[in-house]
Amino acid sequence: MASVAERRRMARLVHRFGFGPRPGEFESLLSKGFEQAAEQYLIAPASDAFADNQGSPVVSDQGRRPAPNSPDVVAYATQKRAQLSSLTFWWLDRMVLSEHSLRERMTWFWHGHWATSYQKVDDALPMYLQNERLRDHALGNFTAMSSQMVIDGALIFWLDGQTNTVKAPNENLSRELMELFTLGVNRYSEEDVKETAKALTGYRVNKTSGAVTYNPRQHFSAAIKVLGTQRSFDANSLSDFLVARDDCALFITERIWYRFVSSMNPLTDTTLISSFASRDIGALVKAIGKHASLDDPNNSMVKSPIDWFVSAARALSITPSKFSNPNSITNYLDQLGQRPFFPPNVGGWPADQAWLSTSSAQYRIQFAERLVREADLSPISTLAANSRLDALANWLAVPEWSNRTKMALNGAINDPARLTILALCSPEYVVSA
């Protein structure tokens, strides 16, 4: 029998570096022991039985919106909604159904890092192209990722890069590139913000296709002074320059620590930074996944609404796109404050306490009720009542139930549906202990 500490370590592995276990998976990992489980969990294989065969979402360049009263506008708007829905459920399915979760988990992390919202981009194709770009580099090399992202159409449009000209630079993209994407706040000066904006001039976005073109004549090609270095830059060489700085290694390590270990306790072991020396994201994630800080009971985290929903759907064998009313899923995610492709701002989603509100408690209960109606409850319904609590803990990868929750669950022990709703809403499931 695994100890509570061993169960907690394994639960953190599957909930934070994946999206929670499928039925039977947690028991099987526990029987392997942490070392072997971590080796299997923290390295994404080249192929994935689900993801390789999933196909693409139905998104295409819709061109410009027809005039308000033209006969085409209704068809245009209908198709627009269908494209966003196709893209959203394509990704939710991929999160829930991928054989190996790490790549989607990291794609999700990077979506919150290079946080770009459909709210302003307003076309599905550029959002999809960005999403694939994040996935391609999710566990690859950060230098390559950043170099691709600074010329990503959706990101440039989101941060007004297309209006950044030599005559009067727009600083939105240059500031966030340093503050939120590569270095971290206050690791540059205001003068650096003004100067790097010049290096990012000359890039034009086709808003509906997401295609980016570079016009050297509109680019500020003279030397600029950035962080003490005087030379000429374009977007790619600027990105390489920033990513090569020590502050970038520190910052990305801090960000992964924040989302995977603790948002409340700061990075304590700076030796972790050295695993990012060559900017290998996969190596850093593996080092953090195996790090002793994840044995520390203080490093608990609240599951964000996506963490909570996707892990519930995996346990309950629910395919998001096959749900009887898929829109109810996105509506609940909206209510809970976290819908893919709609980060609240360029800083991404909040963490921990922000997800613990009266309102989220309410919507979590309703959402759980709705999910359980279409769930496969056989992992507990086929068992005798007296073995259900332990089975429930393994099914959902909960380290242990408190006396409080045992009391609540025991009151519903003969009703598998109600039992599952309560378990999904319990503090032990809502928080990755």
Binding site: K120, N172, S360, R418, I421
Partner: protein
Amino acid sequence: MDTITRRQFLKATGAGALGAAAMSLSIEEIANAAISRPLPPGTPILVVVTLYGGNDGLNTVVPASDPLYQSLRPGIAYKPEDVLPLGENLSLNGSMTGMHSLWNRNQVAIVRGVGYPNPDRSHFSSMAIWQSAIMGAAKTGWLGRWVESQPEDPMLAISLGSVLPPLLAGNRRSGSVLPLGGLKVPRGSLASDCIKLAIESQGDNLLQSMAARTMRNLFTVSSDITPILQSPAPAAPDLPTALGGNAGGETNLSQQLDIVAKLVAAGAPTRIWSVSLGGFDTHANERGAQAILLGVVSQGISKFMSQMRASNRSKDVVVLVYSEFGRRVRANASDGTDHGTSGPVFLLGERVKGGFYGEQPSLSNLKSDDLAVTTDFRDIYASVLEKILSTPAEKILGNWKGRTPLFI
């Protein structure tokens, strides 16, 4: 806070310290307690309106007749005939007619040039400073600390929308949040089971005990206000997708204020309400987008004030409007402005002494192209704490000496 003290802190505030209060609650007890103690008339109420994205102060309180204003921002400057005169060579943005008529009734205080030393131009750092009133890393909001200084009551401070703003975050207790679509509280056996889950347990870590407590608050808050919110508010935001929308905030300010108005009028025992509007990060095509947003702010607040006049609470309510920074004086080539420094703060209500406070930052004396800071925002907070929340400012803001004499 370093790691060791942080860990000690987590231990010290673990389940043992929190569990005792929660043992024998039922819906009936909570509902009865809530209904039996409406806020006594005459108790001041604070409504905080946060404008996310960095509102351009120079195009809000406009020095339209200043030739420097016209020459520094061609393309986005307003002509004197397009704005609403306030006196002292300043005018209100032309879309803010509602607030202008409140100004004429002497119910609006405008504090000019508000900020803090060494302005931070990051949305997130600067908003953290404004919401925490702490320079540097902060875990709590200034009003969250106020909540913690009061006896525990989930209805004391409520934010509209589903995510708690840092403003109301405390170490051990925070304000509550209220969703915009009305509440659907579980009923029957699911409800009684959920109440069991809402009891804090010995083994809970800090976050788990918070999770339990928010579940408990669901029953407390909702049983009191559900009847008031019988018709679900409309979901449609009142704004088109405006440019400048990548720095946070809600979209439906008037809907939020409408709910607050109903709840205040009904006597909810709430001292602080928090609402917000996003979209002020106007790096491009600023004029049209900002005018729409300011129109929403002005119309929402003046309608709210007229709803208050119809209740017996109009003498109690004070509205505070702020943003994380102003914007650069010069326009960029996209007819927008980049992140700047100081901006105006508005206070409204019958308790407010209307008029200008603080010095208007001079356009002929810019600090590396930016407006000077002439009033520290903590002066305003200190006066709000003392006069509206009846709490010594030292308790919340440490040894902060400045005050702005805003209130009657």
